[in-house]
């Protein structure tokens, strides 16, 4: 049986991969996907804690409620974010973070 620390380690590794992707990649769409990976990594540790710390013999469903809300908010965030990316591409003809430097002093 896998223990709690195994799940936390898997979740932390997935979060590290997402963090590395956000820093390394220059394509806004890939950066956005890596953000989704980090959200899912947080979800994994929430579900693991909900299973390993039972309330009244059942898994703690408050943790899974939070996962449900995170998934819904992430879906809304993806819709708005992708609309912004499309608007950005129409205005600037690029989605590379290196070339989007209008705010740079």
């Amino acid at each position: 049986m896998a223990s709690l620390n195994n799940y936390l380690l898997a979740s932390g590794l997935l979060f590290a991969i997402g963090l590395a992707g956000v820093v390394i990649r220059r394509n806004i769409i890939i950066v956005f996907m890596c953000l989704e990976l980090m959200l899912s990594a947080a979800n994994l540790s929430l579900v693991a804690f909900s299973r390993f710390h039972p309330v009244n013999g059942l898994p703690d469903y408050s943790g899974q409620m939070l996962v449900f809300f995170v998934i819904t908010v992430a879906a809304a965030e993806v819709a708005v974010g992708l609309a912004i990316i499309v608007a950005l591409y129409r205005a600037r003809q690029t989605i590379h973070t290196d070339e989007l430097d209008t705010l740079k002093g």
């Binding site: 049986m1 896998a2 223990s3 709690l4 620390n5 195994n6 799940y7 936390l8 380690l9 898997a10 932390g12 590794l13 997935l14 979060f15 991969i17 997402g18 963090l19 590395a20 992707g21 820093v23 390394i24 769409i29 890939i30 996907m33 989704e36 990976l37 899912s40 979800n43 994994l44 579900v47 909900s50 299973r51 390993f52 039972p54 009244n56 013999g57 059942l58 898994p59 469903y61 899974q64 409620m65 996962v67 449900f68 809300f69 998934i71 819904t72 908010v73 879906a75 809304a76 965030e77 819709a79 708005v80 992708l82 609309a83 990316i85 499309v86 608007a87 129409r90 205005a91 989605i95």
Partner: protein, 187 residues
């Protein structure tokens, strides 16, 4: 969940995650995210969170990643293939995850480890007492099944009812926002 299934799903998840960063083609990256999320859904189901595992597949791999693929198709990203990576961001990323992993391992070494508590007939039928006598949840629990979806629905519509309505308003605002964002650029 047997230990080999945990390792199988974790490996699928992590390989999917690494190949998101490694592939140059955005379409391959999007499909790697799908692989990663399928592994993650397997882990959720192994943790007896059946409902969360199923909506992970339906919402994330079904809806969100298809939306990503549509947007990638909409934008013409031909110059991505022959672009050279700069060394500075890669070095920064590797240093950053190095620090993060050191922190992670030291925290996990200090965390008290827990084995998974049992979800067998005895604990489930003991939990049935806190629900009304002839309700669906109590009957299923007495039979030794975990009525995951019923329990989530029960928690959602009693304890988290206000949050659910706020979430509905949020989705409405997001929908209106997306429509107005895409309308502005056509004028």
């Amino acid at each position: 969940m047997p230990f080999y299934l945990f390792w199988l799903f974790t490996t699928v998840m992590l390989i999917g995650g690494v190949s998101v960063i490694a592939f140059r083609n955005p379409v391959s990256s999007a499909l790697s995210v799908v692989t990663c999320f399928v592994g993650l859904a397997g882990l959720f189901i192994g943790l007896s969170a059946f409902f969360v595992g199923v909506i992970q597949i339906l919402v994330y791999t079904g809806a969100v990643m298809v939306l990503f693929l549509f947007i990638i198709m909409l934008l013409d990203l031909k110059d991505e293939e022959h672009r050279t990576n700069k060394i500075a961001p890669i070095a920064t990323g590797l240093v950053l995850i190095g620090i993060f992993l050191i922190q992670l391992f030291s925290v996990i070494a200090d965390t008290p480890n827990a084995e998974s508590p049992p979800l067998d007939q005895a604990t489930l039928s003991a939990a049935a007492d806190s629900y009304p006598q002839d309700s669906k949840i109590a009957t299923e629990l007495k039979e030794g099944h975990l009525p995951d979806v019923h329990l989530i629905g029960h928690t959602l519509f009693t304890q988290y009812n206000l949050h659910l309505q706020i979430l509905g308003v949020l989705l409405l605002v997001a929908t209106i926002g997306v429509v107005s964002l895409s309308k502005r650029q056509t004028e």
